[in-house]
Amino acid sequence: MKTVNLLLKAFLAGGLLLLISACTTTEIDEFRQSSTKIEEDSSIVILGRRQSNAYETEENFVQCVGNVVASGSDGINVIPEPLFLDEMFPFFEPRMAPMRTDHLAQLMQQEEAAKKFEDFGVKYIVWLDGQTQRSGETGSLSCVIGPGGGGCFGFGTWVDDSNFEAEIWDLDNLSTAGAISADANGQSYVPAIVLPIPLLARVETSACSGLGEQLKTFLRGNA
């Protein structure tokens, strides 16, 4: 019984130690090219870049940043990405989306597109581009199940690295207002003695909240 207690204490202490270690480091960088200001009745739209073959900016991440920007007393109106893409169809589909602000200027010359922008009251377009990559997966974890019960034993760890960049386009000037980048990384651990205890580094969530808050400050013109 004493041995079990000792083992349990050691396990808890180890878990606590790892919990402290399973944290995330986030770095936010901002580059401003022109001043920004957004009125209460204006909106922004946050769109994910999806032109690359190897990866695409996840819809969930775009939605997460949108939620952060729209939240709080200083929240900004954010048009949901799927609604905007459908209403502006096909101008923002992956192969047709403007890659530079001069392409946007060409798009604004099309009467149908310009009218839709006006209807939405969009003042800024935010392009999100990036992904989360996993590396350094080590360790092994095995689980067994038998007539008398089951359990897991082992240890697994990996590193998640999120790199995202937000490019802000000003629709009044048809120019780039600035860019914000978020780089978050963290190591996750899963020790298992009978039960697996996942100590996960919430890297993407951290990048999302950091980028969203900075974007809000940037658009409000407070930076």
């Binding site: 999806r50 073959n53 190897a54 990866y55 695409e56 996840e58 819809e59 969930n60 459908d86 209403e87 502006m88 169809f89 096909p90 101008f91 589909e93 992956p94 192969r95 047709m96 099309q110 009467e111 149908e112 597109a113 839709k116």
Partner: protein, 220 residues
């Protein structure tokens, strides 16, 4: 000893009686594991924001197009792995695009039907020439991919060819977002069909033969 043997035999018999009911379930599960998966593509397609051409278009979807199905073969077993049915959704797609691009669209059963519609300017027939699917387990990429090659035929009501051109469509969907292959393939296919809708609606008047015809008929 004899009693013990009888008891053991009885327990074994009891166990096998239990398995008798379990066996069909296990067998069905194993068969299901090897059976082909049928994916019915479905999606919603928005109407494109384009300037309508002042034309009356007749459109014919032949049986190959309306019932289009692609079979992905398992490279190891050589057996059918996935059957992807996309005919219905592609008809839905063209039924959305064409009325946005053309002033009037008349749906025809076949070429003989053209004679009974004297107001037609053009007759359009889409066809699928090639369909490819990229599954993450085969490509080692983290995305499901769909690539489709179309042959578009446009003719005058008298049957003379106006244009005959090839269009390709590509769509992909991230693997992590979708729990099942069916959902991932469906999303990639819908992306590909949206891609086609975009390139068709924005690029129709830029097809050289179409552009020549439109100019010679004072439509541009």
């Amino acid at each position: 000893m004899r009693e013990m043997m009888i008891l053991m035999m009885s327990s074994l018999k009891h166990m096998f009686t239990g398995f008798r009911f379990l066996a069909p379930v296990v067998l069905c599960s194993l068969l299901l594991g090897c059976s082909v998966s049928v994916i019915e593509i479905s999606g919603n397609y928005p109407s494109p924001l384009v300037t309508q051409l002042p034309l009356t278009l007749g459109v014919i979807y032949d049986d190959n197009f309306t019932n289009y199905s692609f079979t992905e073969i398992d490279e190891y077993s050589g057996e059918d792995q996935y059957i992807i049915n996309s005919g219905t959704t592609q008809v839905q797609l063209f039924n959305t695009i064409l009325p946005a691009v053309f002033y009037e669209v008349v749906f025809l059963d076949n070429l003989e039907d053209v004679a009974s519609h004297p107001g037609l300017d053009m007759v359009f027939q889409p066809a699928i020439e090639e369909f490819q699917v990229g599954l993450p387990q085969k490509t080692r990429l983290d995305v499901y991919e769909i690539w489709v090659k179309y042959n578009m035929r446009l003719s005058a009501p008298d049957g003379a060819s106006i244009a005959d051109w090839v269009m390709t469509a590509y769509g992909k969907s991230p693997q992590e977002t979708f729990g099942s292959v069916d959902a991932g393939v469906n999303e990639a296919a819908v992306e590909a069909f949206r891609d086609l809708a975009g390139t068709f609606s924005l690029g129709f008047t830029s097809i050289p033969e179409v552009n020549d015809w439109l100019r010679s008929n004072n439509m541009l």
